[in-house]
């Protein structure tokens, strides 16, 4: 079934007054936000270094790449498809960007464009096969996940590094206290929210995810929409690859973006995106990414072994599913 924390479903029943009901509704529709705040409070009590501007900026910087990819991925999930290849697309795009600057002597801005273009082309291939060729999204993107990782290692057997200062500044610099990478993420999130909320495409995506046939019969260009969603996800993963190369100041083919697809999907699930399509928001997955970022950061700060951080991530997901199940039981009791 679907895991969803953000959308309010019906009324909360109970003998509470109007205020109580309103509080109940607020809790039901903002569970993830409340969980995030509680998590921050907990870590603040555990470590004096947690609630500092430096640390919070660090969390957003850590989350920037995930944010860039989770936005189009969420739209794709809402349309009923999935792209498992993003981790490897990040890897190969990082490698292409790095090689372009170090081996092919391409000016850094062009290298950035090449990195994003790599992801875009892969997204287009996914899109053609899945939207027009009617291949299964799982099979195509799982194949891409394995194949592209291998390909990245073939074209760059050893880590690519030694980039120009312009490029590493993009990865580590900031303006008015905001890291450049975070600015990129903010722009992508804004675009995602605009598309979902204010463009016809936002309605079309939910329509396709709910009932593809009905959307088609309403005149929605369903295949074209699926295609462009894969292109967008690929492009975002390409951009993510560029960002990771800039932040690490190197492009390791064997590790850049490994397991990233799992984090992206976890954040989307936490954020109330229905994997069966149709429902979801941009706000939810963004909070999901921040939740994962805070969890990781806080546990590191408490000197918890990294393996336990992974366990916590999984636990958060299962807990969210259980919580959602309970809320839905309470809220549907009156219908």
């Amino acid at each position: 079934m679907t895991v969803s924390l953000s959308p309010a479903r019906g009324r909360i029943v109970g003998a509470r007054g109007a205020t109580g009901a309103r509080v109940g509704r607020f809790v039901a529709s903002n569970t993830l936000l409340i969980a995030l705040v509680l998590l921050c409070l907990f870590f603040t009590t555990q470590s004096s270094r947690f609630l500092t501007t430096g640390n919070l900026t660090g969390i957003t910087l850590q989350s920037a790449i995930l944010l860039v990819i989770v936005v189009p991925m969420s739209l794709l999930l809402m349309s009923g498809d999935v792209d498992l290849s993003v981790g490897s697309v990040v890897g190969i795009s990082a490698v292409v960007t790095g090689l372009a600057m170090t081996q092919w002597s391409v000016p850094p801005p062009i290298a950035v464009v090449l990195g994003v273009a790599t992801g875009t082309v892969i997204g287009a291939v996914n899109g053609i096969l899945i939207a027009f060729g009617r291949f299964s999204a799982l099979i195509v993107t799982l194949g891409m996940l394995a194949g592209l990782r291998g390909l990245a290692e073939v074209i760059a057997p050893r880590p690519v590094y030694g980039f120009t200062p312009w490029f590493s500044t993009f990865g580590s610099g900031r303006s008015f206290g905001v890291p450049y990478l975070v600015m990129v993420a903010i722009v992508v999130v804004a675009i995602g929210a605009y598309v979902l909320g204010l463009r016809p495409a936002g309605k079309h995506i939910k329509a396709i995810g709910t009932n593809r046939e009905a959307a088609f019969l309403s005149g929605v260009r369903v295949n074209a929409m699926s295609f462009w969603l894969f292109v967008g996800t690929g492009a975002a993963a390409g951009l993510g690859g560029v960002m990771i190369a800039a932040r690490l100041n190197s492009a390791p083919a064997t590790s850049a973006g490994v397991n990233l697809e799992l984090d992206v999907l976890t954040a989307a699930l936490l954020g109330g995106i229905a994997f069966t399509g149709g429902r979801g928001s941009i706000r939810g997955p963004v909070l999901g990414v921040l939740f994962l970022g805070v969890l990781q950061n806080g546990l590191t700060m408490m000197n918890v072994a990294p393996a336990w951080a992974v366990v916590a991530k999984g636990g958060a997901l299962v807990g969210a599913a259980a919580l959602d199940w309970m809320t839905r039981r309470t809220t549907s009791a009156d219908t």
Binding site: L198, K203, K206, A207, N211, A214, S218
Partner: protein, 508 residues
């Protein structure tokens, strides 16, 4: 006002070797409500598919408002002025009413949605058809009748020349159905529009339509003005009387204690049902699509929970709750959708038949191959499976032989099926296999005193196979009689919801 809105000329469509439309021609005028009738499989859905752009005709032309077309995509059909409202709702539940009304054709300025503008137009459309909810309401919160109105508002926005409604009242209650009819009459008189109204219900035809077209076997069987047509003509055109061969009845409707009793049974859609079923008897549930046939079988099988009332199996309360419990109690169901719910296409014929029995036939340690082989051989012989081979994959069998596998599943020795339920047992099956299945059902009932209940929309089949016939209409039993005392016309008239006298008063 008698300008032609839609003119269909020699429309043909076949699927593989099957000719579904064999040269259909049809003219509908502006300001006219045309009823379109036909038995299941007569070609109505295909015709509508060609109009909506879901299907491409093989030959022929469709002229709308003077423009000649040879086929449509959904988009070009809209653009040409044809709007189709489907039997199955095509609304997107998570979106608002206004979003649904504008889906695929949103109001935008510089690429950005204009929700206010959309809501204003939606409000106007909803008012026009008398809908009392806000365009901001999420569709998932609306009732079925309200959703129907959203569907109509959605297509009216495009100011269509031709409005096609595919069984619009199938899911509506009586009151909602009548309201819909009034709104359609109002619409016909207030706009330049032609309405094609597809239905099974004769009383709707006589109270709403100006003219009628009946399709049979992919061709027009009747086309008349309503003023000059009688209901007998319509029924005869839908299904001409066949020579029903004399049949041998099993024992007279017995005084035996009933195997199965239903007392005041209700489900979401069906009821109240009060019924006693005797052993060794074949009972037919005859009715149109949506009359509740399948619901009754699924309730007996534990797939649906009755909302009221009780079922008794040999005097003891029967509350299965799940198919596995029902099977343990001696029930079995052969579902209508053979491909999706009946067969395991990728498994062998033997596995298909023996699936529920493997455990019983096995030793405590492993499957018992020779017992399985023997059990399968006996079933294959009994159902006349062709080829009678245990290893052939199910998908390589013909439709008829696949159905024999599904029925045979419940005829394995020691399987102890007391009540066998069959839903449309011969749908899409060739004549030969159909005969085999009929013979099999009759043999089973005489030899083992099994209680058999089958649902069917084929009157010929009902009269051929059943001892007792129940005709359903909108979830209620309207006829309960021995098959010998009924004719096909009786069945059709009862299922279409009009006794002769009622009809005459409506026509007059």
């Amino acid at each position: 006002m008698s300008a032609t809105a839609l003119s269909i000329e020699g429309l043909r469509k076949s699927f593989g070797a099957k000719d579904v439309l064999r040269g259909v021609s049809l003219d509908v005028e502006i300001g006219e409500i045309r009823a379109l009738l036909g038995a299941n499989g007569a070609g109505k859905s295909t015709l509508i598919g060609c109009l909506s752009g879901a299907l491409q005709p093989d030959a022929g032309s469709i002229t709308v408002d003077g423009q000649v077309h040879t086929g449509f995509t959904p988009r070009t059909a809209f653009d040409a002025g044809i709007a189709v409202i489907y039997q199955h709702f095509s609304l997107i539940e998570p979106l608002s009413v206004a979003d649904n009304i504008f889906l695929g054709d949103e109001r935008v300025k510089h690429g950005t949605l204009r929700p206010r503008e959309q809501e204003a137009v939606a409000t106007e459309l909803l008012q026009m058809i008398g809908a009392g909810f806000s365009p901001r309401t999420e569709v998932s919160r609306l009732t079925v009748g309200e959703r129907q109105l959203v569907e109509i508002a959605k297509v009216l926005r495009r100011e269509p020349k031709v409005l096609v409604l595919d069984e619009p009242t199938a899911a509506l209650g009586e009151r909602e159905a009548r309201l819909l009819g009034e709104r359609l009459l109002q619409l016909r008189d207030s706009r330049d529009i032609a309405i094609i109204y597809v239905t099974h219900l004769l009383h709707e035809v006589f109270s709403l339509a100006d003219s009628i077209t009946v399709l049979r076997d992919g061709a027009v069987a009747l086309e008349e003005r309503m003023a000059t047509v009688h209901h007998e003509d319509v029924i005869a055109a839908i299904s001409p009387s066949y020579q029903v061969e004399t049949r041998r009845r099993s024992a007279v409707v017995g005084d035996d204690a009933p195997v199965l009793s239903l007392k005041g049974l209700h489900t979401s859609f069906v009821g109240p049902l009060d019924l006693d079923l005797a052993p060794g008897q074949v009972t037919a549930l005859f009715g149109l699509m949506g009359s509740g046939r399948t619901e009754i079988l699924e309730t007996l099988m534990g797939m649906r929970t009755p909302s009221q009332g009780q079922m008794f199996l040999r005097g003891r309360a029967h509350r299965p709750g799940s198919p596995s419990r029902a099977i343990a109690d001696g029930f079995a169901l052969v579902p209508a959708d053979r491909k999706q719910r009946g067969v395991f296409a990728q498994l062998s014929s033997a596995d298909n038949v023996l699936l529920p029995h493997v455990q019983r036939l096995a030793t405590p340690i492993a499957r018992h191959r020779s017992r399985e082989r023997n059990a399968f051989a006996r079933v294959a012989d009994r159902v006349r499976l062709q080829p009678a081979d245990p290893t052939t994959l199910c998908r390589h069998f013909s439709g008829g032989n696949q159905q024999k596998l599904v029925v045979g599943r419940w005829l394995v020795d020691g399987g102890d099926v007391d009540v066998l339920l069959l839903d449309e047992p011969t749908q899409g099956i060739d004549i030969g296999a159909r005969g085999d299945l009929y013979r099999l059902i009759r043999e089973t009932v005489t030899e083992t005193a099994t209680t058999i209940v089958f649902a069917s929309s084929d009157p010929e089949e009902v009269l051929l196979l059943a001892d007792r016939v129940l005709v359903l209409q909108r979830g209620r039993i309207v006829v309960d009689a021995p098959a010998d005392s009924l004719t096909e016309q009786d069945l059709l008239a009862a299922a279409h919801g009009s006794s002769t006298s009622e009809l005459e008063s409506e026509v007059a």
